[in-house]
């Protein structure tokens, strides 16, 4: 039963990203051509709501569902891993137009061909695990 709430959050996430067309290859392509405000608007609104919400959580010392005060772990400091990893991710995103969330959402929506992208993403994750120690951070 404790997993039901995660299932519901996931369902909302899947519906929103699909109806926002953020799962659409077309929308990602259009975004990178700067030919529509749509995707930028989505990200800016999400960030605005996110920043506001996180600030409220922190300032009002709001407790999470388990009763402990909400704290969000800071990302580790660094530059190269974020920059190089980010660019590689972006190259893939610009090609196939799907980031990890949409890969799953699209398969659920019946676009089984995206399974090829999922296999690629799993291979990529696996390669990272193998090469981790040899990469600059």
């Amino acid at each position: 039963m404790k997993f039901i709430k995660y299932l519901l959050v996931g369902i909302v996430f899947g519906i929103v990203l699909t109806k926002a067309e953020a799962v659409s290859w077309y929308r990602i392509y259009e975004m990178f051509q700067f030919q529509s405000f749509h995707m930028f608007g989505i990200m800016m609104t999400a960030m605005f709501v996110g920043v506001l919400g996180v600030q409220i959580y922190k300032r009002k010392n709001i407790k999470n569902i388990e009763g402990t005060p909400i704290s969000i772990q800071d990302k580790e400091k660094g530059f190269l891993s974020y920059a190089i990893g980010g660019i590689l991710f972006g190259l893939g995103w610009g090609m196939i137009g799907t980031c990890p969330g949409p890969i799953f959402i699209l398969i659920g929506a019946g676009f089984y061909g995206i399974g090829i992208v999922l296999i690629g993403a799993l291979i990529g994750t696996f390669l990272y695990g193998i090469l981790k120690e040899k990469l600059p951070y």
Partner: protein
């Protein structure tokens, strides 16, 4: 202009996405989809090859449930909440697609036939293209420590500098892919 069964406006979509992230934080979790790829590798036995995959994947079950929900959400949205009026692109975008011989959206389809139809995706070129695109997404997300949900939404909402660096990277990569790689490949 907007309809519930058509494209949802950016301000509603963005608001709900922010709310999804904040809800997970309230549940004591963090919003990040690419972590699930690592979990799936671990479940498939990748721990035999690297320490990176030796962790208690059961602690990530909640996130797999989110993914399962997201798949169901995608199914509901496409089958019950769409009237085929979606994906209205900029006409200039459509012209550019035609130049690359990529089919424009008809009847609200979210993805070009080129990347969905069985005749197309099993040609060597498209198959390798999709596999390689996925590989870059998977590798890049782990190397950068997160993807669009983990960095662009969660990280930036928490004003994290590393997330800003990663997101700038996402856009540099995406711009290079959309302006140089795609016209070169298609």
């Amino acid at each position: 202009m907007y309809s519930f069964y058509g494209t949802w406006p950016w301000y509603i979509s963005g608001f709900l996405l922010g709310a999804v992230m904040l809800t997970l934080v309230y549940f004591g979790k963090t919003f990040g989809m690419s972590s699930n790829l690592r979990t799936l590798c671990t479940i498939s036995g990748a721990g035999k090859f690297s320490d990176f995959f030796r962790f208690d994947w059961k602690s990530q079950r909640w996130n797999l449930v989110v993914v399962l929900g997201a798949m169901i959400g995608g199914f509901i949205a496409v089958n019950y909440l769409s009237d085929g009026s979606g994906v209205q692109l900029n006409p200039q975008t459509i012209t550019q697609l035609q130049e690359m011989k990529i089919d424009a959206p008809v009847n609200g389809n979210l993805i070009p036939e080129k990347f969905t139809s069985a005749e197309s995706i099993f040609t060597p070129k498209i198959f390798v293209f999709m596999l390689l695109g996925g590989l870059l997404v998977g590798f890049g997300a782990r190397y950068a420590g997160g993807c669009t949900s983990g960095h662009a939404i969660s990280g930036l909402s928490n004003l994290q500098l590393p997330s800003l660096i990663a997101v700038i990277g996402f856009f540099i990569g995406g711009l290079v892919a959309a302006h140089f790689l795609l016209p070169l490949i298609f």
